[in-house]
Symmetry: C2
Subunit: 244 residues, 2 copies
Amino acid sequence: MAESNANIFKAIDAERRGTSFEEVVMQLREMIHRGELRPGDRLPPERDLAKQLGVSRPTLRAGISSLAAVGVLQPRRGAGTFVVEAEGPPTLDSSALRLMASLQRFTPAEMFEARRSLEMSIAALAAERATGEQMAEMSEEITGMFASLDEPEQFLVHDMRFHQTVAAASGNRILTALMNMVATILFEVRSKTVRRARDLKESAEMHRAIYRAIRDRNPEAARDAMRDHLMLAQAAQEQEEELD
Amino acid sequence: MAESNANIFKAIDAERRGTSFEEVVMQLREMIHRGELRPGDRLPPERDLAKQLGVSRPTLRAGISSLAAVGVLQPRRGAGTFVVEAEGPPTLDSSALRLMASLQRFTPAEMFEARRSLEMSIAALAAERATGEQMAEMSEEITGMFASLDEPEQFLVHDMRFHQTVAAASGNRILTALMNMVATILFEVRSKTVRRARDLKESAEMHRAIYRAIRDRNPEAARDAMRDHLMLAQAAQEQEEELD
DNA sequence: AGATGGCTCTTGGTCATACCAATCGACTTT
DNA sequence: AAAGTCGATTGGTATGACCAAGAGCCATCT
C-alpha cells in the first residue's frame, strides 16, 4: 500500500524535525551565538519578528517564553524584548534546579555537599588568583560581619557578599554561576528558619580563616577552611531544623 | 486631582504582581513541589487546565512552554503533557549554560576548569561510596576502551559511560547534574574536531588509574588521577584545535 | 525658553476561535 | 482472535482583536 510506504519514509526521515516553535528557539539561539544579538540588545517587535521568521505571533511568543524562562531574554511591556545584560555575578536561573530538587527529592545534605564541593574548588582557585582589590573587599565584608554580630539580617548580607567576592576572585564564571544556583536554593531554606545570633561570632572567625588562607596564597588551606566553614554551617542549619 | 491619587496608590500597591502567565508557572511549580504532580504524571488537557486555572489556553501554553524549556514538562502531541520521568542520570538542561557561554564569552579553558573541579570532587566522593557493582561497571567500560583503541567513536562512548558511572557512584545527583551540564557543552565542541587515535591508549591508562584509586578507597588519589586525566584531555583538545 | 503635564503610538500580554496533526483506543472486519 | 480502520482526544499553529504599560512627542503653562 502507498500508506505503508509513507510510513517507511517517515521513519527514514526521522531526523527529529522539531516543532515550529522549537525552530524559533533555535533561530534565536543561533543569532545570539553568532553575536548578532548582544547583551542589552533589543529584539524587533514581536509582530515584525514573527513575520520575519515566518511564524505566527503565538508561536514566536512560545519561543520567547522559553528563552525568557532560562533567563536569556527579558520582555518589558511597552518597551520591547531585550537580551539580558550580562552584568554582575553570572547567575543561572535556579528554577530548573529547584524543580529537579522537588522531583527527585534531593536531600538538604546532598545540596550542602554540592555547595561545599563547589566552594572548596572556588576557594582554592581564589587563593591562586585573587587580586589585591578583591582581597580588600573580602576583608571589608568580614569587618562588616563582626560589626553586625547582633543583627542577623545584616550579617547574612555580608556573609553572602563575602562568598560572592571569593567566587569572583576564583576567576571562573561557570563555577560561580553553578555555586549561585545551589546557594540560592539553600538560601531560600535558610531564610525560612529563624536565625540565631549564637554562632555568628564563630562564623565570622571562620570566614577570616578563609580570607587569611587566600591572602597567603595557600590553596590547600583555603580549601580546608572553606570546608570547615560549610560543614559547621550545615550542622548549625540541621540543628535549627530539629527545633521547629 | 484624582488621577495623581491613583498613581500614589499604584506605587504603594507595587507588590510586583507577576503577569498572568508567570502566575501559571508558579501554580504548576507549586503543584510539583507539593507532590500533587509526580514524575511521569500526565497533566489535564490544556483546554481543561486552562479553564481550571482561569486563564486562556494561549496563556497556559506560554507557561507550559517555560516549564518545558527547563526540562520539567514534556508535551507529546496527541497524548498529553507529562511531568518528565526522573530516570537515568540527572540532567539539567544545558541550553541555559550554553547561551550564557555565548553571551559572556566563556573560554574553553574556563569550561575545562569547571569540569575538572566538578569531576575531581566527584571522583573523591566516589572513592568513598562506590558500590561493588559500580566498580565492576567502571572496570567494564575501561575494558571497552582498550578494546576499541582503533575505533575513536566507540572509545568515546565508553569514555562517557565511565564518567557517568563515577558520577553515579559519587552519590550526589546535584554534582552529577552539574557535571553533565558542563560536559555536554564540552562534548559538543569535541565532537566537531576530528578525533585522533594517537592518545587513546594513554587515555585508557589514565582511566584505569582513576578506577584503581576508587577501588582502593583512596579519595585523594582518585582526585589526583582525575585531575591528571582531564588536564591531559584538555591539552590534547587544545592541540587539536590549533591544527584546524 | 524651559519644564511639566497630557496625549498618542508603540509594544508586550491576554483572549477567543478555528483548524491541523499526531496519538490512542474502540470498533469493525477478516 | 488478530489485524486494520476510523473516530475522538489532545497538543501545535494560525488569525484577529483588544487591553495595558512604557516611551516619546507636543502643547501648554510658568
